[in-house]
Symmetry: C3
Subunit: 355 residues, 3 copies
């Protein structure tokens, strides 16, 4: 167990200690789950009330967060409390450690493959002809890397991943278990009632520092490449269509599906189960709410939601009003009745007048 | 082929035979698919009409179901006809049988792993350091169990499953092919435009008697555990986020996605493609309709549907009225026109009167 | 690099060259991505404007497409330009080539399996007892084929695929990596609070010429078969429930989920993330828009969209009007106010008159 003093931790993240500087930290947890000896964080003021009841010994807070009204314990004030907390978790626990095992005699490595230094290739991995693997990359059991594909340096490929032929994976890329990169895109020319397969002769480029969750599926390009941009992170069960290009630093939550030939800008965020039709353009920094169905280009910086997707305030208003439809109908009927009544009265009064 | 008499079967399920007690049963099928010699069941009166046309020799029905108006054949009356039918299917066909093969010399089993009695470990399975496998568990080809994970007794792990390090699987758990348990949750602290990975140092606890379909993905906890409660069953392609806790005896249909830190109670039912946002609470016994998008806490025992989800009667009414929106618009326009006409008449009449 | 003259290509597809018959073609690309030496196609007049700016040397167009107004280069006129383009891509690039490797000594092949001629079985494949594999089929690394299953001739099974016991795969079937065929369907009889597993004793039939994407999951039948009809193509992460029967020549885009016992006709098309409830019937040639939720039978030839799904024109109208709900409410309030005002005036006027 690593023990760190609160002052060490504050120094590590460039923060300042408020309160008891003698506190020692042995673990990290959320405010509600923390116990004695744990450090926690308050990044979103929505959770401020949890500060009153947390059993955490230390809490990382924003620079301007006042300690006046909370129970006596240590705080670490800093600029970006969530980032600081992350740095502390890394310090206390580190990332997953990978045993150095070298190349397992139970792996199958083609004689024409080029394997870098300090590479781990676990049991039952299959490295095909002309594959290149960069230094310090680890490939876990039962992965297959197809002919001519290239995996960069410092990558982690978890078990049961399949990378087809002719794919290029950058440096420091992590791919979680069961994910498939480079299967044929969904392309057929239908003629006389038969769907004829269009050869999918392109590939996939996954740029540096990408992380991909479990059981995703990333199509190869039909002609040219499907691209996942630098620093982009995607969660589990995400489907990416052929020739789609995702820009750098995007975040794609679980079960997102993007059809083919979509152009996604940088720093886009997509919630769970978002669906995007083919051949459209998602501008830089667009935010797409969970389960949205995107059927048209999305301008830069816009937040959208709903299926079909609308700008978020419009979507929220419309969806809220959905609840009121029974009320609307009732009102419409009342109005109709009142109006008819009035018209009838009018007519009677006219008739009376004309009598 | 197993042959059972209708009286044997009735005894087996504590039911009573009505009709021809000499009938023999050799198979089981649904009412519409059954042929001569088959037993079938009627659990939902919606399918009562199929009783008239079925070729089944015997039908299991509820205790109070009257046989008067159906063609002469044997019925078995009992309390819970679907459960009784299931017991009969088990008697006639049994569950899948697993050949006892012991530990394959083509598997890779760490010297520090503890393997129970009568365990089957198939070809190309990788059992990492410090793994524990309970008695009578079967692990099919190309599975990987990561360091320090524990699988209980009488489990069945189908091919190509990955269980990461530090996960705990209870007794009598079934995991279907391609499923991944314990990949890193989707946690990043974004700082200066870079998404920094938060170490995912928690684990996964899968309690006893859980069954998980194919190609699911269950995140490990960031800190602490992701939990799948005792007796819960989930279908294929389900995604469960980090630190989510699913209570006992839930049913999750295919392609459900639950984000992180959700608390699901016991006996909840989720239809296909349901999406649930993070950090909310689903009460015991809640029923969530297919494709619903759940964005708020759900009280105990409630049925909801739609995206965003509403109580089911409200959702149905609103969605039904969606169809009538063109009608609403038409009516609004008519009312507007009539009213304007009336107001105009009024003014003219006022003008006339004041002339 | 294959070089073909435009006249050769035109002959190959039964088309006619318009323009420079000396042009040589070395590659294929879309209109926007093509460079010099590339052939491209115009199948959808939506993309006609790209003809003005493309750098393609040759473009395949429809029979009646006039070349008058486009830059001088060669066109190939033919009946079905997309199909012709596909034929040309096959001619230029061919389909993926599979190295003949025979049966790897690192594969595990049961002594009771029947393996045809010219079959490739790669490393770490597990072929169980009584499996039959047809001539010229290739099975890539880490696949498992369960006891008694049958794979036809000329199939391609990519890495990490699991086929359970008792499944039948036809000829010329392609299954992409990570897909699972034949896991148990989601069937439980709940009794006294416990979900009792119903034995799933049926199987899966995949007919000839089917292609299945990556990480799909196709349930076996509970009793009887789940069927994927001849020539049907499905993309990635598709879930098919037990006993569902999909007709021939359907197209299922990524992340479609179909529950159990659904009957899908022939030539149906389903967009991404479509969900279909159990026990319904989808007529021949039905077209279901992306993310639709289908809860009722769909008649032959109908196009539907939305969740719950409606005929497409109705769905579009309703969803468009969703945007106008705030406008509706405003209008309702105005009408209400005007009407009340009018009624009040009436009453006052009546009162005045009666004074």
């Amino acid at each position: 167990m690593t023990v760190k003093s609160v002052t060490e931790l504050a120094d590590h993240v460039g923060g300042e200690v408020i309160g008891d500087i003698s506190v020692e930290v042995t673990g990290a947890a959320t405010l509600t789950e923390a116990g004695q000896g744990d450090i926690s964080f308050l990044a979103n003021l929505k959770y401020e009330k949890d500060l009153q009841t947390t059993r955490a010994s230390v809490v990382v807070v924003g620079k301007d967060y006042s300690a006046a009204d909370i129970p006596p314990r240590a705080l670490i004030q800093c600029n970006d409390p969530y980032y600081a907390f992350m740095q502390i978790v890394v310090l206390l626990h580190g990332h997953r450690e990978h045993e150095k095992i070298g190349i397992s005699p139970r792996a199958s490595v083609s004689g024409s493959a080029q394997i870098g230094d300090d590479v781990d290739i676990h049991d039952f991995v299959c490295i095909s002809a002309d594959v290149q693997i960069g230094d310090n990359t680890r490939i876990y059991p039962s992965c297959t890397i197809g002919p001519g594909s290239k995996v960069g340096k410092d990558c982690i490929i978890y078990p049961n991943v399949t990378i087809y032929d002719g794919c290029q994976i950058g440096d420091r890329v992590t791919i979680h278990a069961g994910t498939v990169v480079g299967q044929d895109g969904f392309g057929y020319a239908t003629h006389d009632g038969i769907h004829h397969k269009i050869p999918q002769i392109g590939g996939v480029i996954i740029e540096d520092d990408v992380e991909i969750g479990s059981n995703c599926a990333i199509d190869r390009g039909t002609l040219g490449y499907t691209v996942i941009g630098r620093g982009t992170k995607m969660s589990n069960l995400v489907a990416i269509g052929h020739n789609t290009q995702i820009g750098p630093h995007c975040l794609l939550v679980a079960q997102v599906g993007i059809a083919g030939s979509v152009q996604v800008g940088k720093y886009c965020v997509m919630g769970g189960q978002v669906g995007i039709v083919g051949h459209i353009k998602i501008g830089d920094g667009a935010k797409i709410g969970a389960q949205a169905g995107v059927t048209n280009d999305v301008p830069e910086g816009i937040s959208i939601a709903g299926s079909p997707a609308l700008p978020i305030t419009q979507a929220k208003r419309s969806l809220m009003l959905l609840k009121e439809l029974p009320e609307f109908r009732k009102k419409l009927r009342e109005l109709d009745k009142s109006l008819k009544h009035l018209i009838k009265e009018e007519e009677e009064s006219d008739n009376n007048n004309s009598e």
